[in-house]
């Protein structure tokens, strides 16, 4: 059962690569006093090349973000996916419903569509995070231009925010991925969709029953 088309798998793969490069170069600078970070900086060819690699990966990532936005807004597949992943009131209700059920205060676990609140949190969290960190990143990149308009302490502040934003994005992506596509008992050790694009029909029936029924109604399954 296909869940991720080739183009989405490719975008996911490129996103992963650029985020790992950005984390590797960024955290090495943020924690430069650590021996491992120092070793990584040396591996990257010193501070100057570290910066160049970081900015190249950043430009690549932002290009992906722009491409993704256009794809989601204007392609046939993208429009369909955007409708599925769009945040609605229903997601918030489903989240509360799931929490109630998990705490033993509700009787029914929500019946998720293609993307439940877990997937949507990941998607919108990462997208907003990447957009915001790009803004602070640009301010720091063009430091001489920025300081024509911004006082020095704002740049110091931007630097702090940029670092912690990166850490927050990294931690959320790492933990959330570990949970929903690796350690969750229904997919352990890994949900293969990001490589093969396909998922088990049984898994879909169990975790995304609304999507399963919709596809069955359409006669896809």
């Amino acid at each position: 059962m296909e869940r991720m088309s080739f183009l989405f798998r490719l975008q996911h793969m490129l996103l992963m690569v650029s985020l790992f490069v950005l984390a590797g170069t960024g955290f090495a600078l943020m924690y430069h006093e650590n021996w491992l970070a120092a070793a990584v900086i040396r591996l990257e060819g010193g501070v100057m090349y570290r910066g160049i690699i970081h900015r190249c990966a950043a430009v690549f990532l932002m290009a992906q973000l722009v491409y993704h936005a256009f794809y989601m807004l204007f392609s046939r597949e993208g429009k369909r996916e955007l409708k599925e992943v769009w945040l609605t009131r229903k997601d918030f209700d489903e989240f509360l419903q799931a929490m109630r059920f998990n705490l033993g205060m509700g009787d029914e676990y929500p019946r998720f569509g293609k993307y439940g609140y877990k997937e949507k949190f990941q998607y919108w969290g990462a997208t907003t995070g990447v957009f915001l960190i790009s803004v602070t990143g640009f301010i720091l990149w063009a430091e001489n231009f920025s300081m024509r308009f911004l006082p020095k302490f704002i740049l110091d502040l931007t630097l702090i925010i940029h670092g912690y934003q990166g850490l927050l994005i990294f931690v959320v992506l790492l933990f959330w991925h570990l949970y929903i596509v690796h350690l969750h008992p229904s997919v352990f050790p890994m949900n293969p969709a990001w490589l093969t694009g396909k998922v088990d029909v049984e898994w879909l029936k169990e975790e995304h029953p609304a999507e399963y029924e919709k596809l069955k109604g359409e006669g896809v399954i």
Partner: protein, 353 residues
Amino acid sequence: MRGKFLAAGIYIALGVVAQGFWTPADAKISLEKCTLCHGKPEFRKILVDGKIRDLFATEDSLKGSVHEKKTCVDCHFDVSEIPHRQRPKRVTCTHCHYKGNAEGAPESDAYLEYFGSVHGKAIAKGNTKAPLCQDCHGSHAIFKVKDPGSDVSRLSVAETCGRCHIEIYAQYKTSIHGVAVSRGIAEAPACTGCHGEHKIYAPKDPKSTVYATHVAEQCSTCHASVLIMSKFGIEAEQVATYKNSFHGVASSFGSRTVANCASCHGIHDIRPPEDPLSLVNPGNVPTTCGKCHPGANPNFALGKMHVDSHDKESGIIYYTALFFKYLTIGTMLALIAHIFLDMYGRTRRLRGE
């Protein structure tokens, strides 16, 4: 016959005695021989370029110095005839000053360091203006470093270096370090405090203590010490905050173009920030930063220079860092809590089915 033998015996005996007892007297004579000419105050030579070489020296010249017990020819050992047919050579101190010498000179290998230094190499290349030992330590009036009268004592060494490095001396003299030294503050650095003593290298030489990537380390020998800095009301954290800044990190990974302490604060002309002549006075900050950051404007002076995000005094920067720290920790805790809750719910879900 017998009388003749006796006379010969006495004569030989006297000769032996004379050899044993009269040597100091010989030396005395030697000194007197020298002062016969050199003891006259007007004994000088006018050189080709019009300069006057003072050749005046008496038995008092060495008085009180470390060489008090030496005589002229102990150092000027190439002088063997009077008047000198050839101009006596400059004194070679290493004749006695080496490790394991028999003359009782201090056991030191300092001269080895000198030969590798910028001064020693210049001499080796034939630069007659480069200094030998006696140019800094003095020729006759040599005293121990601890002695305030010494040319290389903490108080006088800057002036000694300034005899050749005159422009730098003028800058240094009015700088915060120069003023502090002249006021007798023991911790303040004179030239040798930063450049070293015998092993002085050109600032472009990677061996130099003031080479671009070594500057921060050299300044921090004093400026990172709370013990020294607290005496003068200077913050010792400046070193740590520099090391954590973009400049400091780049410098520690070997960048030679990035700003080190001296790039902003000046080299010999370091002054306190309140001084309007200081390179880091807020009024001069745009010019100083502008050396590397084209178009630097007064915005560069708005905010603390040496910022520590872990220090409450940094204000908004401190609180933003604190906010993000707890946001990240909070998010992680929420995620973990959600994972456990969801797992617990899942077992219920599976059991219910």
